[in-house]
């Protein structure tokens, strides 16, 4: 072989090696970054809230379930504020400063100011669940807090302050152990009624503690007495009437946790889904007049595909596969997957958890707050699941951890999900024991950020730093004949082939509230062909050729379909 040929081969080989290394490097970078990325900005936000669960060593079961949170614009200034629920001292516990719920005003750019005292929202009850809506149709958002003990309804005075109107409204719900709550218009009369769920019947002397290999542990809620949830009809005069019996709600009783309300059967009224802990979930089908029948078993959402009751915690609902039907995602206990129920139409659901990949990473952890949200604005909804063990001392008797990381499942657009937690930024590396979670655009930049309530710790605030040039639209509804927030109304957004639906809801996830503004990722579409609003009262508004990348308000009747 000639010397020149050998040299040439060496040069070629060297180039190949360099090219190979470059390829590997590029590939590694691609693998390291996912289309969705979250940054943990908690420390920069000025939020000083720390959750207290009231524990005194008694292992009272209610310690483990606190709490949800709410994301809403309390002062109507156009940005989303944060309301954290807090526990309270249980028997034997003492705090120098009694814990209370805290409200943080969004000052923009991820800076928040504690306005609890001024707002009057610093309820000192043992908070567990919350729902937000304009129940009195006066143009501002009111807050209903579910406590372990009497619940509280705060009416927004319109000036950044709230007044406790529970007594007048008649929605204190007695000395019950609350869970999730929802405002919904059960009878389409234009005002919002209230669903208040109840977990178990609790008293200190009847608390049951399980012992796991020598260590105390919270036990299964089904060993307690269980009572039915409550439904209150809005009398349109600031008062409510308990219609739990008349509506059919009290016919069944469960260990309620997360609750949310949508029109799952597309019949024009709002139905109710209740996630029950270690019992069959409930699906209350509305007959259109505010009377309900529990159909969870027949619909296929009571149990998982094996027919087993899960320790259901939170629930969110969205059309994940853009087929025009709303699907349910329910979080659950450890060694159970969070479950995706696909809506087949005709009132039936199919558990598609495993073939869809929607449970990837959720089996070993306990899962709580959850939300369907299009974090990368690519036109399909991803799933965020927060996790954390129930037992604070689990590490003493098991190799599982109390603090666990949350999970992010990216929708691949073909009805499947892929877990991208490892590659989705430092925000996903946080390990705490999370409970409630809210999803909204905190900095009004067109993507959805995340707020997480962690039990016994500071919250986690995740800024969405995903890089893409996808379009989006945010829609706020303003009801006129319907309730003011358009709760229960269905919005359909069409951009080319991409058709998405969403419904306005009050109360969702794990005993929390977020998302009165609806979000639609639009992928590469630069224009929306049509936005159709089907108001709960029956009217339809249609907007055509709408620009993307903006927040719009659609007022009922202003774009009526002729």
């Amino acid at each position: 072989m000639k010397v020149s040929t050998v040299l040439f081969n060496r040069v070629i080989a060297r180039y190949c090696v360099v090219a190979g290394l470059l390829f590997i490097n590029t590939f590694s970078l691609a693998a390291a970054n996912a289309p969705i990325s979250f940054t943990d900005v908690t420390k920069e936000t000025g939020i000083t809230f720390t959750h207290k669960n009231g524990a005194s060593g008694g292992f009272y079961i209610i310690e483990s379930i606190s709490a949800g949170l709410a994301l809403f614009d309390y002062d109507n200034d156009g940005d989303i504020d944060i309301y954290f629920l807090n526990g309270a001292a249980l028997k034997g516990a003492k705090y120098d400063t009694p814990p209370k719920n805290e409200l943080y005003r969004n000052d923009g750019n991820f800076k928040f100011t504690n306005v609890t005292e001024k707002s009057g929202l610093g309820d000192a009850g043992f908070g567990v669940g919350v729902a937000v809506a304009d129940y009195d149709n006066d143009g501002d958002l009111d807050v209903y807090v579910e406590n372990c003990g009497p619940n509280v309804l705060f009416s927004n005075n319109g000036d950044g302050t709230f007044t406790n109107v529970t007594k007048k409204a008649g929605v204190g719900d007695g000395d019950t152990i609350g869970a999730g709550a929802c405002f919904l218009d059960i009878d389409k009369d234009g005002d919002l009624d209230l669903y208040a769920s109840r977990y178990i019947v609790f008293s200190y002397d009847k608390n049951v503690v399980m012992i796991k290999r020598g260590y105390p542990a919270f036990t299964d809620p089904t060993v307690y007495v269980i009572e039915p949830d409550a439904l209150y009809r809005n009398n349109s005069d600031g008062t409510f009437t308990d219609i739990s019996d008349a509506s059919g709600i009290s016919k069944v009783r469960g260990t309620s946790m997360g609750v949310t309300c949508v029109d799952y059967d597309n019949d024009g009224d709002t139905d109710i889904f209740v996630a029950n802990d270690n019992m069959a979930n409930f699906l209350f089908q509305n007959d259109g007049t505010g009377k309900f029948e529990e159909v969870g078993l027949m619909a296929g959402v009571a149990y998982d595909f094996n027919g087993k009751a899960q320790g259901s915690m939170g629930v969110d609902i969205a059309d994940y596969d853009n087929d025009g039907l709303l699907d349910f995602y329910v979080t659950s206990y450890e060694l159970q997957p969070a479950t995706l129920y696909k809506n087949l139409g005709d009132g039936l659901f199919e558990d598609v958890t495993f073939p869809s990949g929607a449970s990837e990473g959720t089996f070993t952890s306990m899962t709580w707050g959850t939300g369907f949200a299009d974090f990368d604005n690519d036109g399909d909804r991803d799933i965020f699941v927060v996790t954390g063990n129930l037992q604070p001392n689990i590490e003493k008797y098991s190799n599982r951890k109390f603090h666990t990381r949350n999970e992010l499942l990216m929708n691949t657009g073909d009805g499947k999900f892929v877990n991208i937690t490892d590659k989705a930024g430092d925000g996903m590396a946080v390990e705490l024991s999370s409970r409630g979670a809210g999803f909204d655009d905190l900095d009004n930049d067109g993507d959805i950020d995340v707020v997480i309530l962690n039990t016994m710790r500071e919250p986690t605030i995740l800024r969405n730093d995903s890089i893409n040039d996808n379009s989006w639209i945010q829609i706020r509804l303003k009801g006129v004949k319907s309730n003011r927030n358009g709760i229960g109304s269905r919005v359909k957004v069409t951009a080319g082939e991409l058709v998405q639906i969403e419904e306005v809801r009050s109360g969702r996830g794990y005993q929390g509230h977020h998302g009165l503004r609806l979000y639609f990722g639009l992928a590469k579409h630069k224009k929306i062909d049509k936005i159709e609003v089907r108001w709960l009262g029956g009217g339809v508004d249609v907007l055509k050729d709408v620009k993307t990348n903006q927040l719009i308000t659609i007022t009922e009747g202003q774009n009526s379909e002729k």
Binding site: G57, G58, F59, V208, V209, M210, I211, K212, R213, G214, Y215, P216, V223, L297, M298, G300, Y303, F305, N306, G307, L335, P337, L344, L348, E350, V352, T353, F354, P355, S356, G357, F363, T364, Y397, S398, N399, R400
Partner: protein, 407 residues
């Protein structure tokens, strides 16, 4: 065998008597705790019974680690250790112990099956399938493994694979009285698989077959009800859902009645149950471990590996202090090598104390003799002869010593 045993060294350090004392004290403490559990506790403070569990668990943990290190090839040991790890909710450790044993016993059906079961229970479905397939390759006659594999495919959402797995196997049904396969389960799984594949007629066919074999198959009714719903036959759906609900209610009633019976001591019952389980595991693990140490110690003795044999016997006694044979064999090691005869005497005495058998008396007599205490040697061997008068060895030994004494 690993002679650098960190954990057990704590037990093994110092004179044997001291170590034994520690063990006796520990066991007495556990017993005291157990007795006091009868005092019902209403507060969640850890009761003495639960503390006892904790002590046993820690002890078990040390023993399991040590014996697994020393005898990684032993199937029984791996099984007992895995049971313990599963009881402690440490499935990874359970699988690791079993996999380690499998390296030495690659044809063990049982190990494969256990790894698969543990993996399945903890959501490691791919691993479960891999090991159930291995188990099936080793023991093709275990047809029920097909059900397990199919069930695991279902859990992975691979319904077509599940159905394929079962379709092959159910063709072999011949209506045997005692079939090797739980056909009811196979048909149920097939029905469930076809339901997920949206082949509703086939789902109905197989679920009905399952219910013919096992009419009380609750989940069969549940899945069949769902199938009828999909087939737009709400009446039949309702019928099966009612059967499901009825059977479920009956089960719930039984459960409630059971719970009511035990309502008075929820906490202590749990502790008692835990303790029973741990005690059983401790017994099994200790017995198996000490036996292995004994065999190993004997082998080392015969190879004149004195130091190794000494450590091995110490370990054997550390994990199973109640077996006289361990003390006797340990004493024999000293006797054979003519070392530490004072300790040998103590060991032989302990053996006799635990079990006054002819063999143990003989050993003690022999050591007395080696320690030039012929009087006690004769008295002791007489006891052996009394227990086994027909044994010529005892008589010969006695006579030899006596002759020497008379001289």
């Amino acid at each position: 065998m690993n002679t650098h045993s960190n954990h057990l060294q704590q037990f093994s350090q110092g004179p044997l008597e001291k170590r034994l004392c520690r063990f006796i004290i520990a066991f007495l403490a556990i017993a005291a705790f157990c007795i006091s559990t009868s005092l019902a506790a209403t507060e969640p403070e850890i009761t003495p019974g639960q503390q006892a569990n904790s002590i046993i668990e820690k002890q078990l943990s040390v023993i399991a680690e040590e014996v697994l290190q020393d005898f990684p090839q032993d199937i029984q040991l791996a099984k007992f250790a895995a049971e313990f790890y599963n009881q402690c909710e440490r499935p990874d450790a359970a699988v690791a112990a079993l996999e380690q044993a499998l390296k030495y016993n690659p044809e063990s059906y049982e190990l494969c099956n256990r790894i698969a079961k543990t993996s399945f229970a903890n959501g490691s479905y791919d691993k479960a399938i891999t090991y159930w397939r291995k188990a099936l390759a080793i023991s093709p006659e275990k047809l029920d493994l097909n059900n397990n594999i199919a069930e695991t495919y279902m859990a992975l959402g691979k319904y077509a694979e599940a159905v394929t797995q079962l379709e092959k196997i159910i063709k072999k049904e011949k209506g045997e009285v005692f079939p090797a396969l739980d056909y009811s389960k196979s048909y149920f799984l097939l029905g469930q698989g076809y339901l997920q594949l949206r082949q509703y007629e086939k789902a109905k066919e197989y679920l009905e077959k399952a219910l013919v074999i096992t009419p009380e198959h609750r989940m069969g009714h549940y899945q069949l009800s769902k199938t009828y719903m999909r087939l737009k036959n709400p009446e039949k759906a309702k019928e099966h859902m009612e059967l499901y609900t009825k059977q479920k209610a009956e089960t719930a009633e039984r459960k409630e009645a059971w719970a009511k019976k035990r309502k008075t001591a929820v906490i202590n019952n749990t502790a008692d149950a835990d303790r029973k389980v741990f005690s059983r595991t401790l017994t099994r693990l200790s017995a198996r471990g000490s036996r292995l140490y004994l065999v190993s110690g004997k082998s080392q003795s015969s190879q004149e590996l004195f130091n190794k044999a000494e450590t091995t016997f110490q370990k054997a006694i550390a994990i199973d202090a109640g077996q006289s044979v361990l003390y006797r064999q340990f004493a024999l090691l000293y006797v054979m090598t003519n070392r530490k005869l004072d300790r040998a005497q103590g060991l032989a005495k302990k053996a006799v104390e635990l079990e006054p058998s002819a063999q143990n008396y003989l050993m003690l007599g022999r050591i007395y003799y080696q320690n030039s205490d012929r009087a006690n040697a004769l008295i002791t061997i007489e006891k052996a002869i009394a227990l086994e008068p027909g044994n010529p060895l005892y008589r010969r030994t006695y006579n030899k010593i006596k002759k020497g004494a008379d001289k």
